[in-house]
Amino acid sequence: MPVKSKIFRLGSPADRAKIVKSLASRFTLERDVGAPVETVFMDTFDWRIHHRGGALFLESSDSVRQLTWQTGPKGSSESLSVDEAPGFEWDLPDSEFRSRLAGIIEMRRLLPVAKVVSRRESFRILDSRRKTVARVHVESRRAGAPESRVCRRAMPSILVASGIRGYDEDLEDLFEFFGVELGLEIEADSELAAALAAVGLTPVEARSKITFDLEPKMPADSALRQILGRLLQTLEENEDGVRSGLDTEFLHDFRVSSRRTRSALTQLKGILPARAAGRFKREFAWLGQVTGPTRDLDVYLLKMPSYRKSLTSGVREDLEPLGVYLQGLQRQARSKMTRSLGTKRYAKLLSDWRTFLEKTTPVEDLAGLAGRPILEVARARTWKAYRRVLKGGSAIGADTPAEALHRLRIDCKKLRYLLEFFRSLFTPKDMAVLIKALRRLQDNLGDFNDYEVQQDALVTFARDMSDKGLAGAVPLMAMGRLVELLELGQERERQRFHKQFDRFAAKKNRQRFQRLFKSREAS
């Protein structure tokens, strides 16, 4: 139930005492014993809650812990009692609170972003029956960075006036008293904003898709170095997260950057010096290999809740041995990966790559493809990749073996990467339309492939678990049921393919591709 409240800013401590005195002379008050409260603000790495205009925080006082979500600065807030700070949405009890939060944060981890310690003087406003009709807290607060144990940074003191359901008039009287009679100003900053300001931190801009900023006449060499440079930056930004293992998205973003790097080097061959490009391509392939197993297992662990859901309630618990097995494998894979990321080979890859990308050659000295305007190269390569997708997709009939769809999926990915690299060179609307159309097709092909991969993986897991005596007949049968469900899913996607491809290859899209990418010279 939403509790209406207003927050007023207070001046000096002397003001506080005066205000309490005025309050007592006007209203019937009862003082509550208040204990210091520690508030930890939480958000995902990419500040999803903040970007929606809300705040999530955990208040701890005595032994009570309450998680509150304010869904907007003037909006309502809801609270939930918890035993400890949640890491992920699935750590919370099943409730509407949890499902709505999950809608925003998905699988990302909640991390502490700021800490506030407040001392409260709490009062209850009473009516003639001595019923509490409103509450007033006078708070002095100090902020600290989330890792620090002590909060030392001063924040403005505030007065919070909140209501009790059904006693709106009493609350309005209180608001009028504070706002009009005492002339107090509304505190404009949210507690989180004030805390961050006190500590000197700023919310990171929402990490949307990485954007590249290219100019049509830029030489291809500079453009490619810029693209690869941004990808390297993303890789570095995610490194700490990968090592800490707190959130699977760090490793995911890390690997995506690595994959796009390799794709750029392959698809835009001939721009950078061949030998160097070849060497780095091989090294990034190695990086993909050492991080792959951990990511695969992360994905299966993330799928476990939906696996459980897809089975009937009597059978769900039978998947527990699989969960335990996967966790064990993931731990092993992670330590191996962490060791690889600690090697000189890895460190050298990143530093050499950075050095290589920062080497700029004067335009006059750029030969061949490297010196051509990027727009020209972009159009040629994208057109080529697009034609490949059209050709591949058109050749797929109802009886074509699955292999052709897997190849098409890869070709679509190549096209997609190119569209994203060169997005800034074309009109936003055109690119948005084409990328959306391609994404739909990719989703279908991706799901089709994913279903197959999952089936194979589950069979492999089952064999291994059986050989090692980690699962009896019952769990294996539950896994078998899963495999069957996945097979049905795969078949469904296969049926959907033709419609999806026809949609992608529709005249309007073809015309748009032609307009943007087809060479003006002889076709």
């Binding site: 139930m1 359901r165 059904g166």
Partner: protein
């Protein structure tokens, strides 16, 4: 939303004390809780220091003209709200008769509240009438405080027979011994018999002047004597009720 009704044809057996104290415990555990004081005497409302008056009275509430949401008041306790009593509740039967399906009217009225509350307690007036039938239809469980005397058991039998004959929706009937005075041999005897033969709950609420003090203190027992014997008895009762209902 689970609906509990403290119900007994007899008056003065502990319905209100039970409703108030269990609602308090429910909210303390974190369940969003509403207590509806259906007794025109308004004792539960009085205990919470709230005015026993609703705008428009029973007529507008039961006909759907007043939204119950607008009448609900927060108690002094986190997570616990009250829908107050009103003297016009003495006419609830008459109001119910005005609707097409009188026994279903209450359940219909309570429906929208299920989004906001996990537990609803109905503190019923002592009676067996149309409003009682409506309560039977709307409730998941009837909590029947019973004083350990032969007449009380007879009344309990009567209730169970009445409910047993119905074809319609059946609330779970959970009788429990209340206002037990262990000094009285008859009380001891009846309690023993109840435990041996009947379906009464194991938890028993002792007679206690601390509970009577609720009328002076005007707050739930748990708020002023949380570790007392009767308070712990209510806690056992609440736990047992929840376990029984699953």
């Amino acid at each position: 939303m689970r609906v509990f009704a403290t119900y007994n044809i007899k008056g003065g057996v502990g319905k209100t004390a039970t409703a108030v104290n269990l609602a308090y415990l429910s909210a303390r555990e974190g369940a969003r809780t509403l207590l509806w004081d259906l007794d025109p005497q308004g004792a539960a409302t009085f205990y919470f220091r709230i005015e026993a008056a609703i705008s428009g009275g029973a007529e507008r509430l039961l006909s759907g003209k007043t939204d119950p949401d607008k009448l609900i008041r927060g108690t002094d306790f986190e997570g616990l709200d009250l829908l107050p009593a009103d003297f016009s509740y003495r006419n609830i039967d008459l109001e119910l008769e005005k609707s097409k399906k009188p026994t279903k009217r209450l359940a219909k009225l309570l429906q929208p509240l299920s989004k906001e509350y996990d537990h609803l307690f109905l503190d019923c007036a002592p009676s067996i009438s149309l409003v009682s039938e409506a309560i039977f239809v709307a409730s998941d469980a009837l909590l029947v405080p019973t004083i350990p005397t032969p007449l009380s058991l007879r009344t309990l039998d009567q209730l169970e027979k009445h409910l047993g004959g119905r074809k319609k929706r059946q609330p779970a009937v959970l009788p429990f011994m209340c206002m037990v005075d262990r000094r009285k041999s008859m009380h001891r005897q009846i309690c023993a018999e109840a435990t041996a033969h009947r379906q009464t709950l194991a938890a028993m609420i002792p007679y206690s002047s601390l509970v009577e003090q609720m009328g002076l203190r005007r707050k739930p027992l748990g708020a002023y004597a949380g570790s007392s014997l009767p308070a712990r008895a209510f806690e056992s009762l609440w736990r047992e009720i929840q376990r029984t209902l699953g």
